[in-house]
Symmetry: D2
Subunit: 337 residues, 4 copies
């Protein structure tokens, strides 16, 4: 941490700042500039985050040098984490394709989709049982019945399953069924929920919040990791910007950026990232070209009849084309699907 003194701060102000730094057990290192004096705080000053040196008399601003996240950082864990989902490895050389309907709507809809995505090359099945919907008047998901159908689909089709958990109270129930617990975008900073899933030992997929920075995303990862659950994968799904021609703006930069900052696997969700089915394949290919470890894609046997997210869902045949084209891209970057 660096404390920048105001132009014209007094010697007394400066001494007081130094004494405060020393009070907390740190050394203060002074540097006298021509316009400003700066005070360097020597030591791991993350514990000082709560202290408001910027409010001391004569202080202009505080500059932080250390990234605030730790456990998710490559600085502390240089090798890639590989998450094991019933034998499917996420974060290794092989690209992982997660696919399925937005919501479980019926046994037949789920099984039909599950068989189709498996045949096309998906290795994990997704579908929502509890759905976070902006409107209380929208379909809210089938709940536990959907979880049972998901378990049945896993047994019958042979794909591990991922589904969303929306509150601390749901964690025990959803944990009974799911192979991966998904934390949705709107819950990326639901800290009690992060703590609750951090106490499980089930793999977690943490989606990026639609208005959250990558730094906040990594801090939220630290919430889970610090509970002892090291099986965390991340998923970029688009952020909210001024552009309304697409549902969200997929932040492609975040893919290579995160690969540098963290050891955790990162996937892309071009279905939410675009909100338009006819853009999904192109952005899915872009994810893999940019270095993503996998994709999460919404597929529905009849999107026009889907109870949620129909506009961004692919028909099974279009999904199969997507996987084929992603396979080409994966080969071009030295990976496989």
């Amino acid at each position: 941490m660096i404390i920048v003194m105001k132009r014209g701060a007094s010697a007394a102000d400066l001494s007081y700042v130094v004494s405060q730094v020393e009070t907390f057990g740190y050394k203060a290192h002074l540097s006298q500039g021509t316009e400003r004096t700066i005070v360097g705080v020597v030591g791991d000053d993350r514990p000082l985050e709560n202290h408001n040196f910027e409010l001391l008399p004569g202080v202009e601003q505080i500059l932080r040098i250390l990234q605030p996240f730790k456990l998710a950082s490559r600085d502390f864990h240089p090798e890639n984490t590989i998450v094991d989902v019933r034998g499917v490895h996420v974060g290794g050389d092989k690209i992982v394709i997660i696919a399925g309907p937005c919501s479980v709507e019926s046994r037949s809809q789920l099984l039909e989709t599950a068989w189709a995505v498996k045949e096309a090359g998906a290795t994990i099945l997704r579908a929502g049982a509890f759905k976070p919907r902006s409107s209380p008047y929208s379909f809210q998901g089938m709940g536990e019945e959907a979880l049972e159908l998901l378990a049945e689909a896993r047994d019958e089709v042979g794909l591990p399953i991922i589904t969303e958990v929306m509150s601390t109270e749901q964690v025990p129930l959803v944990s009974k069924y799911a192979d991966v617990l998904q934390i949705g975008a709107r819950n990326m900073q639901n800290f009690p929920l992060l703590q609750a899933v951090g106490r499980t030992r089930i793999p977690i997929m943490l989606k990026r919040g639609l208005m959250n920075t990558v730094q906040e995303w990594l801090l939220s990862s630290d919430y889970i990791l610090s509970g002892g659950n090291r099986q965390v994968m991340l998923c970029e799904r688009g952020i909210r910007t001024f552009e309304t021609a697409t549902r969200n703006t997929f932040d492609i930069n975040a893919i290579p950026l995160m690969k540098g900052l963290t050891h955790l696997p990162i996937l892309g969700d071009p279905s939410h990232g675009t909100g338009k089915w006819d853009l999904v394949a192109a952005v899915g290919r872009a994810c893999i070209a940019a270095g993503a470890d996998g994709l999460m894609i919404e597929v529905h046997p009849d999107p026009a009849k889907a109870l949620s997210d129909g506009a961004q869902s692919l028909k099974p045949e279009r999904f199969a084309e997507l996987v084929a084209s992603v396979r080409q891209i994966a080969a071009a970057v030295g990976r496989t699907v």
Copy 2:
């Protein structure tokens, strides 16, 4: 709902769309333009929100005419709702000032602040017991102990209390103590939590999410209202934009906009809205000039030592000045403090 057909959609496409509309029990009203044909859906089509007419062959886009929120709308409830907080009326002619520290840190800190803000003119006391913090390494609040201190402050100082509830599991505990349950910005779309507080009969303050539109905010209000709890007040606290010179961008437009759209009271929180103590009073005055029903202000006896949000907290004497200047503004718009 209006369904816009593509340029060159076939007659068969059009008949199919019409038949689909009729399947759901609505009438379809056709209008043949020179470039496009449009199909009007006659009736309250909110139940069709889940149907994806935009995916039918020949359809270009869907335009929605009805606002999706209902219970929060002035259309359905023209008179202002006045929320009664132990005799303090929020939403009437009198401006309500809620003030107190960001977090409860100790008995003396809380009581000292409570007496000071009461003396300056505040009528509700705020302070956090459970704190949503971006970093797991930051101070997380004193929990139930803080709730007990808040209850003691209420009894001793005579101000009703508001404090945040962060998860469904905390609702019973916090409800035992609080006069108003606060839903924080990061939980504005925590739907299970909205449903849980909607089942109580305690007044709720719903803060706007830092990434949420006013329409989403009103839909989240409908989540609470549709549970039967009609005691809802709203609080604008700034949104996230590209500007980094302030912590958030206070959306002053939202104050008069919301007064037109909804019957619920609306307050402003310039402490979070700016993130800088020296901007708080100016933006607080602006809120009242724009028609807000009250303010929520962070006050700390020694901001430099605050365990959270020190940079945006006012010292008691500065808070007293703020109230004095707000009183002038209130008079200028025909209200009182």
Copy 3:
């Protein structure tokens, strides 16, 4: 400037960085932390802005300490600048109201509006001759004919006039007529235009770009000021965010923030800041309550027939009500209209 070395940077990397700093004539001040070494550059290092120390081997990041703007800064010019527009003082105790139609549409429309706004209390007349329109198919303004009508209105009604200049080539022409040259939001970073108006000695109103930070705004001010034209006033007119319920998001925080950072007068334009006539008065009052030096308001005798910006224009009688209510707010903050 502070150069933060990577964890594990070598001694050779460090010496090279120090030698580079010294090459440019600065002293390097080292501070050895537990996790990182930092190098402070002693001296006014703004000239080093073009140098890419972050690319030197072993460097992690660069932190800048000095604000990049100079002439607009209160650091260098503590007293308020007061701009004199034919005897109307902008930036003093008296609030300035600029009003008029978005565009000049006809002699009668302009004169009728001019008389009405003068009577209601405006002291400067605004109207566009050259209009920046997103679509080439929209009305583009009446050009020089409008300038002549503006000059006539000034003579007849007795209000100084402000109008927009859109390109370097228009500067001589518009300068012949206008008492204030307006630089519109889309031109805030049109640097040749800033330089061109900086070479005149006519007062300039520099509107904030709809996606520009306050720092960029002050740098653009420096472009004008460094040409020798010290008669610069600023106008906040809303920024672009994710919220679409209003045309722009008026950044009320920017009003007190700018009053602290710069000595230049700052006005608010709630017409563009909201895009909705029924929100204009509330946000206009908020501007004055927050410390703005004036307002710029669009007024049209028949907004439904306006050729541009009708939706945000006030009828003359509503404008008169606005001025009356602003007068109350001005009194509440110790100023007059």
Copy 4:
């Protein structure tokens, strides 16, 4: 255009709206809903854009059905436009790589870079002569001298050249030298400049503004196209969002979206899109995977010494690696470099 009447609008309001629509020569088509009445305007109502039906008594809102852009639209011009830059075809099957330094800094810097990028596979040379810089204290480009050096580089190295033109006054000068005139992001809505380059017959590259929607981008294209210059190519270069970990947020969605909306070629600029040299190759590959027609990349022989944009410039050897990897991606999507 669809005019939505307010709940409870009177019959007189409705008749007046209908009469107004008919006044302009359009037919009004009424549709009576259960909550709202809507009035469809039959005909190409783009000329009505300036009319403010939303202000008529009893009107709630206006919904527009037609896209406002025309000449850039695939609706009106289904086949791809191919721009011919001295024999280099932009918009065909072959991917075009534009590369070179941000600014011309010296004869040797330019030639060294030109030879290197040509050898690596670039087919057009870029470099700035006039530089739009946020700060008046930054390097502003070498001006005409740089244009002469660019012409020399073209002759010697054999690559056509692209360089930016910043104002209407510079158009004749820059046109004497450049094979493609670049309109920079900050000038995307500099309408006089768009009109000026629309009057030339030189190919134009129109970069997306950092604050502009794709709809505005296409309207700006229409400004150029309607001047008679049909040689327009577009370049996505990142937009401004709340995320500060990268310089801009590259909008990868815009690539396939624009390929659907317009017949004009679209390129990606991952140098500006990320602002960090170590992310450029990954995002460049993503562009091609998503369907872009080319890339624009900043290359400098010694980025640490670059006078502008060093942080995002590649060394020639890294650029060669990028081209090699892009070649693989191009093959994977059935194209060549």
